[in-house]
């Protein structure tokens, strides 16, 4: 009897000494994530990991609710790049400058580090990143005798040239008033993420440096100029279909031969595999004549709760999950574009092909991260609504000016 009691006390002692790390993660498939968690547990048997996977649609709301509780959990959580500033400004994230050496910082793309920083401090560790380009359907180009656009980063086409090609490739073959082939389809038709590079190529800055003012930035002449080009794609030249509300729908257009070109993200290299019939090529993200080449970038980061009571375990987990081996495994499982240089070197059979090389090049050289502001989600939503209205035909200048007033009112709360 007494021996049983002693045994139980010992067991409880052992159990209590094991730290349980609470992790809030994006709702990726559980069997994929568990592979990484189990690998971590093998290396760190004293750390229990309790991971909560939340689907994308509810993720940000869940993070907000849990962090607002202020009890130090979740200890580690996934951070969508542009929200880094919002969490950091509210004190939810632990500053990580003391825990990362300069050497370790060199592992990541500069744009990713910028995305994970706020006010000069490093807050969230880069986990993934992204890039975009124009995918084109070789068969359609051949059918209408248009030469393939170059796949080389040195021979980037201008937006003017792309517009010309799109005009030539928008065809209504059965004369029913609806084009059967569209020149260009935009994967995320109204998202600022994909459209900022157009304005930035013309030299526009999309938000004030302090991240609180959009008036004068999204209403600047260059920004309106970029937005007008975008407006023309749908309303003047009519080379792009309106109302493509989901990236899967845009992919359907491209994959089934209804669009000659698609402006889309690097994940299409994997997702277009479900359309084996389309033989596609990739040409670099266009720029405006006389302007700068700019590409979008940024994706997930990993952050540590500023109030965590298990800092040691949290750091171990973060460094593991964003470390080379875990990211290699993760890319092979999930396809996310890594933010670490050494992963690209570790998988030459994947990243060696010309298309990945193009994206890698862009991430290193032309990538501009989204603007840093604590009010990013409000800014993005209202700007997205503005782009949506513009693509349906609203006047770009007036729409952006109305949006700027509303955005600034929301951002004012963050000062």
């Amino acid at each position: 009897m007494r021996r049983l009691l002693v045994l139980m006390i010992l067991l409880t002692g052992v159990l209590l000494s094991a730290t349980t790390l609470e992790v809030l993660w994006m709702g990726w498939p559980k069997d994929q994530v568990m592979q990484l968690i189990n690998a971590f547990k093998e290396e760190n048997p004293t750390i229990e990991v309790e991971i909560q996977l939340v689907p994308f649609g509810q993720l940000f709301q869940t993070i907000e609710v849990r962090l607002a509780a202020g009890d130090g959990t979740p200890d580690v959580f996934i951070v969508d790049g542009p929200n880094n500033a919002s969490y950091a400004a509210r004190g939810y994230l632990l500053a990580l400058d003391d825990y990362y050496t300069d050497e370790e910082m060199n592992d990541w793309f500069k744009a990713s580090i910028e995305e994970g920083s706020y006010n000069g401090k490093f807050y969230s560790v880069p986990y993934g990143t992204s890039s975009a380009g124009i995918f084109y359907n070789k068969a359609i180009f051949e059918e209408y005798g248009i030469p393939f656009p170059s796949e080389s980063i040195d021979e980037r086409l201008t937006w003017e040239e792309i517009a010309e090609i799109a005009k030539k490739l928008t065809k209504d073959t059965n004369n029913d008033g609806i084009p059967d082939v569209w020149g260009l389809v935009i994967e995320q038709i109204d998202r600022p993420y994909l459209l900022f590079p157009l304005m930035q190529s013309l030299g526009a800055q999309v938000l004030s440096d302090d991240g609180f003012v959009s008036q004068g930035y999204i209403t600047s002449q260059e920004f309106v100029q970029g937005a007008t080009f975008y407006w023309k794609l749908f309303n003047e030249w009519k080379v792009s279909p309106q109302g493509v509300s989901d990236s899967a729908i845009a992919r359907e257009y491209f994959g089934t031969g209804k669009a000659a070109m698609m402006l889309g993200n690097e994940w299409n290299l994997r997702r277009l595999a479900q359309y084996p019939g389309v033989d596609y090529g990739l040409t670099p993200f266009p720029y405006f004549e006389g302007g700068v080449a700019v590409t979008p970038t940024g994706s997930w980061h990993v952050g540590i709760n500023s109030k965590t009571k298990k800092l040691d375990a949290a750091l171990k987990f973060t460094k593991f999950i964003t470390g080379r081996d875990a990211v290699v495994t993760w890319h092979l499982l999930n396809g996310i574009a890594p933010a670490r240089y050494d992963v690209y070197e570790a998988l030459p059979e994947v990243f060696g092909n010309a298309m990945w090389q193009l994206f890698f090049n862009e991430m290193e050289n032309t990538a501009v991260p989204r603007p840093v502001t604590p009010g990013y989600s409000q800014y993005e939503l209202m700007l997205r609504e503005a782009f949506n209205s513009i693509h349906y035909g609203a006047d770009p200048k007036k729409t952006l000016e109305d949006a700027a007033i509303r955005i600034d009112r929301e951002l004012r709360r963050y000062r």
Binding site: R90, I178, S245, E385, Y414
Partner: protein, 288 residues
């Protein structure tokens, strides 16, 4: 009635407590919330009616939502009530076909609003949807449907009518079955035509049902959210930006609970006004 009022209370308290706890209390909390402003650090400050003054004086988006919602309600409610009433009048028999069509018309109710929205979004796709294929087959011009500011709201209205009519038809049918046959027989003896029977007997005796259907339907439609969220997202250019969707955006994207609660409180006030007016209009002028 009850000789002892206290006994009556005991019967009522369970339901009443549920009502208070799950309906009245949240409304109160929401109203208090609308009188505060939350800074992004989570601190709540009491600001009185500032949220409301901002909405009414400086917010053109709110006014656009307000008018869109009013227009939507004024069109959709009569349409639903009249169509469900007509269907009920026509299908109030025990023929095989009347019973068959009753089921058919009721079927859309079995589909959730979200699924209905997705289906309509696909069917009314301006480029490759079924609807436009049909129109072009007969040589008519393809329509922009949800891509056009003029047609998007009508698309939502039709979606709602299609989905809701069958449901309210059932209520009217129940109301119709409560009308004693004897009245019709008496009218026939007096030589009344079908039209006279409908207007002098059926409709007046349906007043109570009409009252319920009208008020419940109006309240429900003011809270329309799923089709906007799934299909139009308030667009194009704000032409379908119903108040409920505007409130949702404030609450869950902008994290501005004050403004969101203010909008829902205003919505509640509008619903109360409309309900009151409708109850007055459909007051039974006789006891039956």
């Amino acid at each position: 009635m009850f000789r002892n009022n206290r006994v009556a209370w005991f019967f009522v308290i369970p339901a009443l407590s549920f009502l208070l706890l799950f309906k009245i209390w949240p409304i109160g909390v929401s109203f208090i919330e609308s009188l505060t402003m939350t800074s992004f650090t989570g601190k709540k400050t009491f600001v009185g009616f500032e949220n409301y003054t901002y909405l009414f004086k400086y917010d053109p988006v709110f006014w656009n939502s307000f008018w869109v919602t009013i227009v939507y309600s004024v069109i959709v409610n009569p349409l639903i009530v009249i169509s469900s009433l007509l269907m009920a009048l026509l299908l109030n028999g025990s023929h095989f076909f009347t019973r068959f069509f009753r089921t058919v018309f009721f079927l859309p109710t079995a589909i959730s609003f979200a699924v209905v929205s997705v289906i309509w979004m696909i069917v009314l796709d301006p480029y490759y949807g079924l609807a436009n294929s049909f129109l072009t087959l007969f040589g008519l011009k393809p329509q922009p449907f949800f891509s056009s500011t003029a047609q998007a709201l009508w698309g939502l209205i039709m979606l709602n009518v299609w989905r809701s009519s069958g449901y309210w038809m059932m209520y009217f049918l129940a109301g119709l079955q409560n009308i004693p046959e004897a009245l019709y027989e008496a009218a026939e003896i007096d030589g009344a035509s079908t039209l006279q029977k409908t207007f002098r007997i059926t409709l007046p005796l349906l007043t109570r049902t009409m009252s319920f259907v009208l008020v419940a339907n109006t309240a429900f439609n003011f809270l329309s959210f799923a089709p906007v969220y799934i299909i139009t997202k308030g667009g194009p250019i704000g032409s379908t930006n119903l108040l409920m969707y505007e409130s949702y955006k404030s609450a869950f994207v902008n994290l501005d609970m004050g403004r969101a609660s203010a909008i829902t409180s205003i919505l509640l006030a509008i619903i109360l006004v409309f309900s009151f007016v409708e109850l007055r209009l459909t007051r039974a002028k006789f006891d039956y």
